[in-house]
């Protein structure tokens, strides 16, 4: 016989954010499992609204694909550095205007450095500054 969970206590606000990675193939099963706890009777008196909203937010998070944005952001930074240092060309280069400006500066600094025997402290400082911006 099925035993329903009841009288769960909703965790108090504010809630902290946690970044986790799961296979998308798992998402439908996770959505279905969470749905069983989205019923008001599962939560103790006074906690139903916040408890159910907690479940809904988790379901939205499972479908939001937020890691895509983080990975794309990392990829853009990699492309900027790879283009600036190694000269690799990307047909679908997607950096923003500020990144393009930094890319030009990196190239200029590297070209200037190539004509010198040792690392210029001033150029090194600028490279560090640019790295911090990226």
């Amino acid at each position: 016989m099925r035993k329903f969970v009841r009288n769960l206590q909703a965790p108090p606000l504010p809630w902290m954010c946690e970044l986790v990675g799961i296979e998308t193939a798992v998402v439908p099963f996770a959505l279905g499992a969470l749905e069983e706890r989205a019923a008001p009777f599962v939560w103790q008196d006074g906690d139903a609204l916040i408890g159910v909203q907690m479940i809904r937010r988790l379901q939205v998070a499972l479908l939001s694909g937020c890691l895509d944005e983080l990975i794309a952001s990392q990829e853009r930074i990699f492309q900027v550095l790879d283009n600036g240092i190694n000269g690799t060309r990307y047909d679908d280069f997607q950096s923003g205007t500020s990144m393009r400006v930094e890319l030009v500066r990196i190239r200029e600094l590297l070209e200037a450095q190539q004509s010198q025997e040792s690392l210029d402290p001033e150029i090194l400082a600028q490279l560090i500054q640019i790295a911090a911006l990226l």
Binding site: T24, A25, V27, P28, F29, L31, G32, E35, A38, P40, L49, Q53, R56, R57, Q59, V60, L62, L63, S64, G65, D68
Partner: protein, 154 residues
């Protein structure tokens, strides 16, 4: 296709051990909600004279059932559901489940292919017209009209 000939008035009673018992009465299907509530109240008042159990729920049920249902689609499977997540104006997120969703309502490319609902799909975007009806949550809040996402629920 047709309606049942009657609407049901269902009274549920509790005893000292929390056991439930239900008493059903039937009225013509054409009975209005107001008329049915009046009948239910009258019945409840008289039954409570006969019984010392606790009346704690009254349900009014108008039921429609297909007379001669044809075969369901060979690909249909109600164990699968589309979970649609809808945001209301008060930022609450509400949900509804659509049984046995068509494969075409899900994204077809990318890592969420077959898992996440395609918000650009005409059937999905057209569903907003349903959400614009005066729908409420069980506690009386606005259900919302903004489908923010959705996915296959197993």
């Amino acid at each position: 296709m047709g309606n049942a000939p009657t609407a049901a008035i269902k009274l549920t009673f509790l005893d000292r051990d929390q056991n439930e018992a239900q008493v059903n009465f039937y009225v013509p299907y054409s009975t209005t909600v107001e008329q049915a509530w009046a009948v239910a109240d009258a019945i409840a008042a008289r039954v409570q004279v006969l019984s010392n159990a606790l009346l704690w729920r009254i349900q009014l049920v108008w039921k429609w059932t297909a007379d001669m249902p044809g075969p369901a689609d060979v690909d249909s499977n109600v164990r699968r559901a589309l979970l649609l997540l809808v945001q209301a104006s008060d930022e609450r997120i509400n949900a509804l489940l659509v049984p046995s969703p068509r494969d075409s309502v899900f994204e077809i490319d990318g890592r969420y292919a077959g898992v996440r609902v395609d918000l650009d799909n005409a059937a999905v975007s057209g569903f907003v017209s349903v959400l614009e009806l005066p729908l409420l949550t069980p506690d009386g809040g606005a259900f919302g009209t903004d489908i923010i996402t959705g996915g296959l629920s197993l």
